[in-house]
């Protein structure tokens, strides 16, 4: 099970490699794309500004350094869809990523693009983005038949659902799962909204909209019913806020991320034979990337060293700052380690965290 880390600058490569990144992924949006489509239409799942490299020479430097340590680099081409008019440029970029910059794989989601890339016969792996929303074994089999080598499973799947997929088809296709940072109340693969700065993410903006609930029957509200629905709506907004606004935040002292995670599930993923655990956040600061990587690596190392599952989960939870309950729908992807949901004291958390960050094995 490899640790997959994000980057958006060649300057981050050495830092990530030295701190335990075993695979790297990034995006590259050249000026040519921006000139044609501005910042409104994204080439991949992140904004051209901030989340991506800009030049092929930058990408080449990242790949050269990574390959120097036998670490593969994957590049995202995972927009929800591409139009026929966009495709020639997208295919040309894909060819240049592979032939010029020598990346090892492309992260894709649009079946039409996958088919077109298969026709190109490029010497690289195709990884299916979570944007393709492969939620079941048959979907994984469908994309495998199109030539996909790895499938990134959506983070909305439960541990049991992932285990079923891994059990039935994990020996035939690589599986990758989300492990840290970012979350959403919606399924990315079926969210057709923009995150463009002119309007912001749809989910986050909901709290600022004028909202009113109705009974479909047209019947009058029962006593307390409308208040109950309004409270639910406020709670819904709070959850979205927790999932999204903490996605890019970190503790000031240590830069440890405050975003949702699946750290407690790492032992289970190891047991299932999951190929890679993915840290999200191409657009994050270098410091936050480093802290995220160390956090994941600390838990992965404990797992590889054969520590007891419960010990690992308790350790993982003690490392995290709980800005919201450590449960699914809040700060937890997979509901592993439920027996340890007792929040550690601040002192206990601080001791574990400082020990982890100062551990010479981690730096």
């Amino acid at each position: 099970m490899k640790i997959l880390a994000p980057l958006n600058s060649p300057a981050e490569t050495e830092m990530l490699l030295a701190n335990g990144a075993e695979e790297l992924y990034c995006g590259l949006v050249p000026d040519e794309w921006v000139a044609r489509y501005s910042g409104a239409i994204w080439l991949n799942r992140r904004s051209p500004a901030g989340g991506n490299l800009r030049t092929f020479s930058d990408l080449g430097r990242v790949v050269e350094q990574a390959h120097g340590r036998s670490v593969p680099v994957f590049v995202t081409l995972n927009a929800q869809t591409y139009t026929a008019s966009q495709l020639p440029l997208v295919l040309d970029l894909a060819r240049r990523y592979v032939e010029e910059a020598r990346v090892d794989g492309l992260i894709v989601s649009d079946p039409a693009l996958i088919l077109e890339l298969a026709n190109q016969d490029l010497p690289c792996a195709l990884h299916l983005s979570s944007i393709a929303a492969s939620l079941n074994v048959a979907a994984v089999r469908f994309f495998q038949s199109l030539g996909v080598r790895r499938v990134i499973l959506p983070r909305s799947l439960t541990l049991a659902q992932i285990e079923r997929i891994a059990g039935e088809i994990g020996s035939q296709v690589e599986l990758e799962v989300f492990i840290l940072n970012d979350g959403c109340i919606f399924e990315e693969g079926f969210c057709l909204t923009t995150h463009h700065r002119s309007v912001g993410a749809f989910c986050v903006g909901l709290a600022r909209m004028d909202s009113q609930s109705f009974k479909l029957s047209g019947a009058p509200w029962a006593p307390g019913e409308e208040e109950e629905i309004n409270t639910l709506l406020q709670d819904f907004h709070r959850r979205i806020d927790g999932l999204t606004n903490y996605a890019c935040s970190a503790r000031p002292q240590t830069a440890l991320p405050l975003a949702p995670c699946g750290l407690c599930a790492i032992p289970a993923f190891h047991r299932m034979g999951i190929s890679a655990v993915k840290i999200v956040g191409r657009e994050a600061s270098s410091l936050r990337k480093l802290a995220s990587l160390r956090l994941v690596r600390a838990v992965v190392e404990k797992t590889r060293n054969g520590a007891q599952e419960e010990t690992i989960q308790a350790y993982a939870q003690a490392l995290r700052e709980s800005v919201a309950p450590c449960v699914p729908g809040e700060m937890c992807y997979y509901d592993a380690g439920a027996t340890h949901k007792q929040k550690p004291s601040a002192g206990e958390r601080g001791r574990v965290e400082i020990a982890a960050m100062a551990n010479p094995e981690l730096v």
């Binding site: 966009q86 939620l135 079923r164 057709l192 629905i229 639910l232 729908g329």
Partner: protein, 308 residues
């Protein structure tokens, strides 16, 4: 051009005889105005149309997959009314596929050439491998063109940059590789949402029948449902795939995009169950329906209610 009606789980069977037999609802409901406006447009455009096909099921939530008994009962009733059947299916986990398989088996055994709308590539794979008597239809959730009413009218405006405008066209269907794949899997019909923007695609050039839903388009959906959490304690709410009491059958929430200087300020969204919908204004809807046949639309699917 074929007209179809969505009857959900059979609640809307009264619409099968007449599109406009919707029982009156409270005038306080924002949807009442939308429904009335859509019905008037259909009357103006098509006259007294009687649907030839009924859609049952739903596209968004696997908790709403019907039980086999109620499913077969509604199917029989629809056939007795002389309606062809299309079964809608949502994105599904393996547990969802386990629930769908017995329904597919029953439907296939009827030898009626029924259609199944797939909104999940795994469902297509299962139909292809196990139920070749059923006719797969690609659902609208697999058309990933951006449809965010906060911006799409602006991105498609005449003064928008050409690259942005072109990006608003339905993606993928005009690519021969995808066409060949869908045809190999037996897909003859593909479905789309009614779009805010005019599509420049010539639908008649596609090797598929193209069907459009109206008047509601979907914006986003997920596996964490707000209203489905109503009966849970606060600490238990919004977990993925939580068992619900089908609260989506009882409530809807309107959200209005406000407080901006954009021309789309004031746009309304409708949240029902795990999904958000939009509804284009009457003028857009009327133009779309008037031009549909000439543009090569093969089927129009009327959803009197927000489809949940």
């Amino acid at each position: 051009m074929e007209w179809a009606i969505h009857v959900a789980d059979g609640r809307s069977l009264e619409h099968c005889e007449d599109f406009f037999s919707c029982p009156p609802r409270s005038s306080e409901l924002p949807l009442s105005d939308l429904q009335a406006a859509a019905a008037k447009v259909v009357q103006r455009v098509a006259g007294p149309v009687r649907p030839q096909r009924a859609y049952l099921g739903n596209e968004f939530c696997q908790h709403l997959i019907p039980a086999r008994e109620s499913f077969s009962k509604v199917c029989r009733e629809l056939r007795e009314r002389g309606l062809a059947i299309t079964f809608l299916t949502p994105p599904v986990t393996d547990a969802g596929l386990d629930k769908l398989r017995p329904l597919f088996a029953w439907l296939a055994a009827q030898a009626s050439g029924a259609e199944v709308v797939f909104n999940d590539w795994g469902t297509l794979q299962v139909l292809h491998e196990e139920f070749d008597a059923l006719r797969p239809v690609r659902g609208r959730l697999l058309n990933k063109t951006m449809r965010d009413p906060r911006v799409t009218p602006l991105y498609n405006a005449p003064d928008a940059p050409e690259g942005i405008r072109a990006s608003m066209q339905p993606g993928g269907l005009d690519m021969p590789s995808l066409q060949r794949l869908l045809l190999r899997y037996g897909v003859e019909t593909v479905e789309l949402d009614i779009l805010f923007q005019d599509s420049t695609s010539d639908l008649r050039r596609l090797p598929f029948q193209v069907a459009f839903y109206f008047p509601y388009g979907f914006v986003t959906t997920g596996r964490q449902c707000m209203i489905g959490a109503l009966h849970f304690q606060e600490s238990e709410r919004f977990r993925p795939m939580q068992q619900c009491q089908h609260e989506c059958r009882s409530y809807v929430t309107e959200h209005r995009f406000v407080g901006t200087t954009l021309p789309t300020d004031g746009t309304a969204f409708y949240q029902r169950g795990n999904t958000f919908f939009y509804c284009p204004d009457t003028e857009v809807l009327e133009r779309f329906l008037l031009e549909a046949e000439a543009r090569g639309v093969g089927r129009l699917i009327y959803q009197p209610d927000l489809p949940m």
